[in-house]
C-alpha cells in the first residue's frame, strides 16, 4: 500500500500521469523503477513529437535491461525532462518527482480513463 500517490493516474504499463493545467506530465511508477533496477539512461522524444496512447515514446535503460516507455494518452510532447540525461538515477530516487515528458493531450478525456491509485495497486497485487 501507499507507494503510489492518490492524485495521479496510472497505466498497466507502469507509467503515471499527472494533470498540470491543460497538460499531462508523465513518469514511471515506483514499481517500474524497482523492477528496472538502477536506471542509467533515458532516451527522450523530441519536443513537438506526436505520441499515441499505448505506443512507445522513448526508452529507459537500467544496468541490465532496456525497456520501452509507453504513452498514457495521445497528443504532442510539449516538454521533456532533460535533467534525466545527466541524472537518470533520479528515476530511482523519486519516480514521482522525476517526470519524463509533458504531453498536450489531443483528447483530454483519455486522462479520466486511466487507472486511479487504488485500481493500479490492485493490478500490482494481482500480478504478484
Amino acid at each position: 500500500m501507499g507507494n503510489n500517490p492518490g492524485n495521479l493516474k496510472y497505466t498497466k504499463d507502469h507509467e503515471w500521469a499527472r494533470k498540470d493545467g491543460g497538460k499531462i506530465v508523465v513518469g514511471v511508477t515506483h514499481h517500474a523503477q524497482e523492477a528496472l533496477g538502477d536506471v542509467v539512461y533515458v532516451e527522450l522524444p523530441k519536443v513537438g513529437a506526436a505520441v499515441t496512447a499505448g505506443a512507445s515514446f522513448g526508452v529507459i535503460e537500467s544496468t541490465k535491461a532496456v525497456s520501452e516507455l509507453f504513452a498514457p494518452l495521445s497528443g504532442k510532447v510539449t516538454r521533456v525532462n532533460a535533467e534525466l540525461s545527466k541524472e537518470p538515477a533520479a528515476v530511482n530516487k523519486d519516480p514521482y518527482a522525476a517526470w519524463i515528458i509533458e504531453i498536450e493531450p489531443s483528447n483530454a478525456a483519455e486522462y479520466d480513463g486511466l487507472l486511479d491509485a487504488a485500481a493500479y495497486e490492485k493490478l500490482l497485487a494481482t500480478a504478484k
Binding site: G37, V40, Y41, E43, E61, T63, K64
Partner: protein
C-alpha cells in the same frame, strides 16, 4: 525446474531477486547492481558461484592429459598455481574458458563455466588421453570474496597465513572452520579469493563471511554486478565475448595461448592464424554520444555493418557507456572510431585502452 546452489535459501533470506541463469536459479541482484558494484570496488562483496563446474584429472598422466586440452601451459606452472586458459575445439574456437589449478603433476583441477559444464566434461572425456577426468561439479560449492577488504576478511577467518598466496596462486586450509581450496583469483579486477568448499558447508561459510565482514561493509552480490564488474575489466564472458567460432588470438587472449608448448587441440589453426594475422579483433570501446551499448547491437563503419557488440553496459565505476565487440583489425587500434547501431540510430564510438577501469 532450474537447479539450486546450496546457497539458494540464503539468497532468498537476504532478499535476492532470483532469475534463471544457465539453468540455475541465481540472484541477479540484492541491494541493486550499482551499490553492489561499488561495494566490491570500495569494500568487499560475496558472490555465490557454486553453479560453476569442476572437473578433476588425477593420476600419473594428469598434467599431460589436461595440458593437451588447453591453451595455457601447466608444465610451466608451479604446484599451487592456477592458470586461465582456453579449452578449444579443432577449429581453434572456444569450447569454454577455464581456470586450471595445478595441485601437482598428478592432480589438475579445472573450474569451468556453469553453462558449459556438461559439454566440457563430455569433450574432455572424449579427447583426454591417458587419464579419465572426473566431473566433481556436485562436490563443490564456490564463494568468491572480492574487493579491497577481501584479503583481510578471509585472513581473519583462515587457519593459516595467506600472505604467500599471491595472485593466481592457491592453497588448501580452513576458512571459518570449513575445509576449502583457497584461491587468490576472481572475475572483478579486485583482490580477493575464490573458496571451493563442500556444498553442505557453503551456508556456514557464507554467513560467517557476512558476519565477520559486517564492519567492512561486506554485502552479497548478484549476477548483475558480477557482469558490470567484469565488463569494466574487459574480462571475457563465454557466450558473449568468446564462443566456438572466435579464436583466442581474435579475442585478445594471446597471453593465455602458449604456441611454443607441446601440441594442444586447436594449436595448428592458431599457429597458422598467427602467421597470417587475424582479420578481426575483440576491442573495448566507449560511446562518445549518449546511449548504452548492448550485446548484439551492430557495429557500423560508413553505414556498413562490420562487427557486433558482444558486451556493454553503463560502467558504474567508469561512469561511461562502455562496450566490447569484434571489429575488423583495421578498426582495432586505440582511437579508431565507428558507430554502434542503437535502435536503428548510429551512435558514435571510439576504441579505448582496456581495462576500462583502473584503480585509483
Amino acid at each position: 525446474m532450474p537447479k539450486q546452489t546450496p546457497l539458494n535459501a540464503a539468497h532468498r533470506k537476504l532478499g535476492g531477486r532470483m532469475v534463471d541463469f544457465a539453468g540455475w536459479d541465481m540472484p541477479v541482484q540484492f541491494a541493486g547492481v550499482v551499490p553492489e558494484h561499488l561495494a566490491v570496488r570500495n569494500a568487499v562483496g560475496l558472490f555465490d558461484v557454486s553453479h560453476m563446474g569442476e572437473i578433476e584429472f588425477k593420476g600419473p598422466n594428469a598434467l599431460a592429459a589436461a595440458n593437451a586440452l588447453i591453451t595455457n601451459d601447466l608444465a610451466r606452472a608451479a604446484d599451487g598455481q592456477a592458470l586461465y586458459a582456453g579449452l578449444l575445439n579443432d577449429q581453434g574456437g572456444f569450447v569454454d574458458d577455464i581456470v586450471a589449478y595445478r595441485f601437482s603433476p598428478e592432480h589438475i583441477f579445472i573450474c569451468v563455466n556453469a553453462s558449459n559444464a556438461d559439454k566440457d566434461f563430455a569433450w574432455m572425456k572424449e579427447r583426454a588421453k591417458g587419464c579419465v577426468p572426473v566431473n566433481r561439479s556436485n562436490d563443490y560449492a564456490q564463494i568468491a570474496v572480492q574487493g579491497p577488504k577481501a584479503f583481510a576478511l578471509v585472513q581473519r577467518l583462515a587457519n593459516k597465513k595467506l600472505d604467500a598466496v599471491g595472485t593466481y596462486r592457491f592453497t588448501t586450509g580452513q576458512v571459518a572452520g570449513v575445509d576449502a581450496i583457497i584461491s587468490r583469483t576472481g572475475y572483478t579486477g579486485e583482490d580477493g579469493f575464490e573458496l571451493y568448499v563442500a556444498p553442505d558447508k557453503a551456508e556456514k561459510l557464507w554467513f560467517a563471511l557476512l558476519e565477520e565482514g559486517k564492519g567492512d561493509g561486506a554485502v552479497p552480490i548478484g549476477l548483475g554486478a558480477r557482469d558490470s564488474l567484469r565488463t569494466e575489466m574487459k574480462y571475457s564472458l563465454y557466450g558473449n565475448d568468446i564462443d566456438d567460432v572466435h579464436t583466442p588470438l581474435e579475442a585478445g587472449l594471446g597471453w593465455i595461448t602458449k604456441l611454443d608448448k607441446a601440441d594442444f587441440i586447436g594449436k595448428s589453426v592458431l599457429v597458422k592464424q598467427k602467421a597470417e594475422g587475424v582479420t578481426r579483433k575483440l576491442v573495448g570501446f566507449e560511446l562518445t554520444e549518449p546511449g548504452v551499448p548492448r550485446s548484439h547491437y551492430p557495429i557500423l563503419k560508413d553505414g556498413q555493418k562490420v562487427g557486433e557488440v558482444t558486451s556493454g553496459t553503463m560502467g558504474p565505476s567508469v561512469k561511461k557507456p562502455i562496450g566490447i565487440g569484434y571489429v575488423p583489425t583495421a578498426l582495432s587500434a586505440e582511437g579508431s572510431t565507428f558507430h554502434v547501431e542503437i535502435r536503428g540510430r548510429p551512435v558514435a564510438a571510439k576504441v579505448v585502452k582496456t581495462p576500462f577501469y583502473k584503480k585509483g
